[in-house]
C-alpha cells in the first residue's frame, strides 16, 4: 500500500467498493469456530444463508482461488492484484468464502506437480466446492518418522491396490477424497519409495473412524484402506517421487495449522491467574505462582521479540533460518506452560469436565488438548534434533 502514493490504485479502489457492497456483515469479523466456515464437498451445507450468498458472489467473481489460472476455475489475478485483494479482505475482516484443504494444500501441489488433465479436473472441482479433500500423511506406526510410512500401493497392471491406514486425518469422515502418501517401493532409501496419490473416499474398502482425544472430541479420524482399487491416473507426479511433493506440502500445512489454531480464542494467562488467585497491594497472593508467572511472562515477551527480530532479519536480507528453527519448539512449550499456570491458579474449579455449562469446564479440555502441542507437527524432540544437527552441526553417532 505504501507504494501507491497519490491516491489509491484503481484495482484497489474497485475491489474495496465491491467488497463493501457484497460481503454480508455477518461474513466479516472473527471466525468463531470451524462451524463458522463453509467447507464445500458432496455433503457440504452452508452454515448460514449469508455464507451461501458470500460464496456465490465470490465464486462469480472468480475469487475463490483468485490467483489460479482461469482455466482451473481461478480468477487469473496477478500477484500484485492478489495481494491487494487479500489486503482489502483483511481490512474488512472478510471471512474466507470457502475454507478447504483442497484450496490451501492440495491445489498448490497440483499446480506444481500434476498433469494438465489432473489440474483441469481437480482444481475446478475444488473451486466449485464440489469435492472436499482431506490429507493422509501420518500413520499409526510412523509417528515422528514420517518417511517410515507403510500404507502400500501395489501395481496391479491397470490399477493400484491400496492397503493400510492413515491417522490424524482432519475431518476424514466429512471429506470426499483424500490425497495421501503411499509406499510404492519398499527397497532402498525409505524416502525414495513414496508416491503421492488421490483416492476417492467412496471407493470400496475405505472406512474412517473418529479419534477421541484425552480432551474429548476432535476433528481427527483414522482412515482405513482394505484392498482399495485406485485408478492409475490418480498418481500425481512421478512414481516413487512423492516425497518431494510431501515436503513441498508440509510448508503449506504449517501455515494451515497456524491458521486454524488461531480460531481458538487466546487465553490471557495473567488475567485468568489474577482473577483466580487475587492480589493484595498489587501483588498476587500466591508467591510461588507469582514467580512462575513472572518467569513465563518474561519468556513470552522475549519470544515475541524474537519473532519480531526474525522478521526484521529477513527484511534486512539476513539469513534467519537458525532463528525460525526454534519457533515451533519454544512456542508450543510456552503454550503448554501457560495452561499449566492456568490450571494451577484455577484449582479444583478447572478440574471439572462434564458436559454442563460450568464456566470452567472448558479449561480442563484446553489444558488436556495443549499436551498435544509439543507432539503434533513435529515433536519437541524432533525440533531439538533438527537444531542440534542442522544448526549446531553436532555429529550423528
Amino acid at each position: 500500500m505504501e507504494n501507491e502514493i497519490g491516491g489509491l490504485n484503481p484495482f484497489r479502489k474497485e475491489t474495496r467498493t465491491w467488497l463493501e457492497e457484497n460481503c454480508p456483515l455477518t461474513m466479516r469479523g472473527q471466525i468463531k469456530d470451524v462451524n463458522d466456515l463453509y467447507w464445500g464437498g458432496r455433503q457440504g451445507a452452508f452454515p448460514s444463508d449469508d455464507h451461501k450468498v458470500w460464496f456465490e458472489r465470490m465464486h462469480a467473481k472468480g475469487w475463490i482461488a483468485p490467483h489460479w489460472d482461469k482455466k482451473y476455475g481461478g480468477g487469473g489475478l496477478s500477484d500484485r492484484e492478489h495481494k491487494i485483494l487479500m489486503e482489502e479482505m483483511a481490512r474488512l475482516r472478510c471471512k474466507p468464502p470457502l475454507f478447504s484443504f483442497g484450496l490451501a494444500m492440495l491445489g498448490p501441489a497440483l499446480l506444481k506437480f500434476a498433469s494438465e488433465t489432473q489440474k483441469e479436473h481437480y482444481l475446478n472441482d475444488i473451486v466449485n466446492a464440489k469435492i472436499r479433500w482431506c490429507q493422509g500423511y501420518s500413520e499409526p506406526n510412523a509417528g515422528s518418522d514420517l518417511a517410515g510410512l507403510q500404507m502400500k500401493a501395489e501395481d496391479k497392471g491397470d490399477h493400484y491396490l491400496v492397503n493400510g491406514s492413515k491417522i490424524w486425518t482432519s475431518f476424514g469422515d466429512l471429506a470426499d477424497w483424500i490425497f495421501c502418501l503411499v509406499r510404492t517401493n519398499s527397497e532402498g532409501k525409505k524416502q525414495d519409495g513414496i508416491s503421492f496419490m488421490l483416492i476417492d473416499m467412496q471407493s470400496e474398502g475405505t472406512a474412517t473412524r473418529p479419534i477421541r482425544l484425552i480432551s474429548g472430541k476432535s476433528p481427527f479420524t483414522e482412515t482405513f484402506f482394505n484392498d482399495v482399487k485406485v485408478p492409475k491416473e490418480n498418481l500425481v507426479g512421478e512414481l516413487n517421487k512423492g516425497w518431494t511433493i510431501a515436503k513441498y506440502l508440509l510448508t503449506h500445512e504449517r501455515q494451515m495449522i497456524g491458521g486454524i489454531g488461531e480460531t481458538d480464542e487466546k487465553l490471557n494467562v495473567l488475567e485468568i491467574v489474577n482473577d483466580a488467585i487475587g492480589s493484595v497491594n498489587g501483588k498476587l497472593n500466591d508467591t510461588i505462582l507469582r514467580t512462575a508467572l513472572a518467569r513465563h511472562e518474561m519468556n513470552r515477551e522475549i519470544f515475541a521479540l524474537t519473532i519480531d527480530r526474525a522478521i526484521d532479519e529477513a527484511k534486512a536480507g539476513n539469513d534467519s533460518g537458525a532463528l525460525s528453527s526454534l519457533f515451533k519448539y519454544y512456542g508450543t512449550e510456552l503454550n503448554v506452560e501457560a495452561m499449566e499456570l492456568i490450571m494451577s491458579a484455577s484449582g479444583s474449579d478447572a478440574l471439572m469436565m462434564d458436559d454442563s455449562a460450568d464456566k470452567h469446564a472448558f479449561l480442563a479440555r484446553r489444558f488436556l488438548r495443549s499436551k498435544g502441542n509439543t507432539i503434533e507437527g513435529g515433536t519437541s524432540e524432533v525440533q531439538l534434533n533438527i537444531i542440534s544437527k542442522n544448526i549446531l552441526g553436532l555429529p550423528i553417532k
Binding site: D145, W168, I211, I288, D354, K371
Partner: protein
C-alpha cells in the same frame, strides 16, 4: 524400618490380584462411557468391603482389622495403579479417620461397625473455594434449642453424590478464616434443606457441590473433638493416603511408558535407545524411588503417632504431586500422538494425577507449609 513386613506384603499382593481381575483400568473407562449414575461400581465396592479394606483402620472392638495406615496406604497404592474409582478415599481414608479422631463414644459405636462392614458411604464436606484451605470456613452452624442449623455451601466434596452421610465442617463462632470456632457435624444425606449437585471431574471420578439451607442437625450429631487441630490431622492423614495412591499411579504410569520406550520403534530403532529419553527416564526413576521413601515414612508416621505428622504430610504430598505431574506429562510426550488419544490408557494417569495433586492442597500449598513448619 522403612520396609514392609510379610503380612503387609500379603495384603498388598492380594489387593493387587483382586484389582487386576475386578478393576483393571478399563473398568474406569466403562464407568465413564456408560455414564454410570453412581460413578462407582457397587459390586466392586462390595468385593473390596468383603476383603476387609473398609475396616483396615478400625479397631477390632468395632469390627475392624486394626491393620493401620501403612496397610491402607499399600491398598491405595494398588488402587492408584489401576485408577480404581471407589469410596476408599472419601469413606475410609477421610471419614473413618474423622470418626476415629473426633467422634464421641456413641458416634463411634454407631458408625464404625457399619463403616467396617461397608454399609455406609460417607463424604467429608469441607472446601468452599477452588484451593484447599483448612481454616477457611464460612458455612455457619447456629445453635438453636432443637439442634444446630447449618447454612452455607461446599465444593469438591469427594463422592458427595453417593454419600449416605456427610461430615460437614462448619463454624459455630468466629470469622471466616479463624481457626477457633470450627466444628464437625454428622449430617444425613436425606436431611431437609441439603442439596447435592454431582460434578464430574477430569479423572472421571466424582465430587459434588453441596448447599445447606437451614439444615437442622440434632445436637448429638456434633462431633466431640471436631476442632481445627483435629481437622488438620484428618487432612494430614488424607494427604499421606493420597500420596500413597499417587505413588501407585506414578509407578504404573512410568512402567507403562518404559515398556512403550522399549517396544515402539522409530527410525529403525526402539525409541528407548535415544539417550535424551533415557536420561529423562532415569530421572523419573530416581524421583519415584525418592517417592517410595517418603511415602512409607509418612505412612509409618501416622501409625507411630509421631509429632511431626504435618511436616511429613506436606513433604509426601508435595513430592508426590510434583512427581505425578512430571511422570504423567512425560508419559504423554513419550507416547507421542498415541498418548493423546483416548484409546490409549496413559492419559488417564495424567487426569487422575492432576485431580489427586489438587486434592487437599497442591504443590505450592505444601511447599509453603513445609517451609513454615521448618521455620523459614
Amino acid at each position: 524400618m522403612l520396609v514392609i513386613n510379610e503380612e503387609q506384603k500379603m495384603l498388598k499382593a492380594s489387593v493387587r490380584d483382586f484389582l487386576a481381575i475386578q478393576s483393571p483400568l478399563a473398568a474406569l473407562r466403562k464407568l465413564r462411557d456408560e455414564k454410570n449414575s453412581d460413578g462407582i461400581d457397587r459390586q466392586l465396592w462390595g468385593g473390596m468391603c468383603e476383603m476387609g479394606l473398609t475396616g483396615l483402620t478400625i479397631s477390632e472392638a468395632f469390627g475392624g482389622l486394626d491393620f493401620g495406615y501403612l496397610g491402607l496406604g499399600l491398598v491405595l497404592e494398588e488402587t492408584g495403579r489401576t485408577l480404581t474409582a471407589s469410596p476408599l478415599i472419601s469413606t475410609v481414608l477421610l471419614s473413618t479417620t474423622a470418626i476415629n479422631l473426633a467422634g464421641s463414644a456413641a458416634q463411634k459405636k454407631a458408625l464404625l461397625p457399619e463403616l467396617a462392614r461397608g454399609q455406609l458411604i460417607m463424604a467429608l464436606a469441607h472446601e468452599e473455594k477452588a484451593h484447599h484451605d483448612p481454616g477457611h470456613v464460612a458455612t455457619k452452624a447456629e445453635l438453636r434449642r432443637d439442634g444446630y442449623v447449618l447454612n452455607g455451601h461446599k465444593t469438591f466434596v469427594l463422592d458427595g453424590h453417593i454419600a449416605d452421610k456427610f461430615i460437614v465442617v462448619a463454624r459455630t463462632a468466629g470469622k471466616v478464616d479463624d481457626a477457633k470456632g470450627i466444628a464437625l457435624f454428622l449430617v444425613d444425606a436425606t436431611a431437609k434443606g441439603l442439596k447435592v449437585e454431582r460434578t464430574q471431574m477430569m479423572d472421571s471420578r466424582n465430587a459434588a457441590k453441596i448447599s445447606f439451607e437451614n439444615v437442622l442437625v440434632p445436637k448429638d450429631q456434633l462431633m466431640e473433638a471436631g476442632d481445627y487441630d483435629t481437622l488438620v490431622k484428618i487432612f494430614d492423614i488424607g494427604c499421606i493416603g493420597l500420596a500413597a495412591e499417587m505413588l501407585g499411579s506414578a509407578q504404573e504410569c512410568f512402567e507403562r511408558t518404559l515398556a512403550y520406550l522399549k517396544e515402539r520403534r522409530q527410525f529403525g530403532v526402539p525409541i528407548g535407545s535415544f539417550q535424551a529419553l533415557q536420561h529423562r527416564a532415569a530421572k523419573m526413576f530416581i524421583d519415584i524411588e525418592l517417592c517410595k521413601s517418603v511415602v512409607i515414612k509418612a505412612l509409618k508416621a501416622i501409625d507411630d503417632g509421631t509429632p511431626d505428622l504435618s511436616r511429613m504430610a506436606s513433604l509426601a504430598k508435595a513430592k508426590l504431586g510434583e512427581t505425578i505431574k512430571l511422570v504423567s506429562n512425560e508419559a504423554i510426550q513419550m507416547h507421542g500422538g498415541i498418548g493423546m488419544t483416548d484409546d490409549a490408557e496413559i492419559g488417564f494417569f495424567l487426569k487422575r494425577g492432576r485431580v489427586a495433586q489438587q486434592t487437599l492442597g497442591d504443590y505450592p500449598y505444601h511447599l509453603d507449609r513445609f517451609a513454615r513448619l521448618r521455620g523459614f
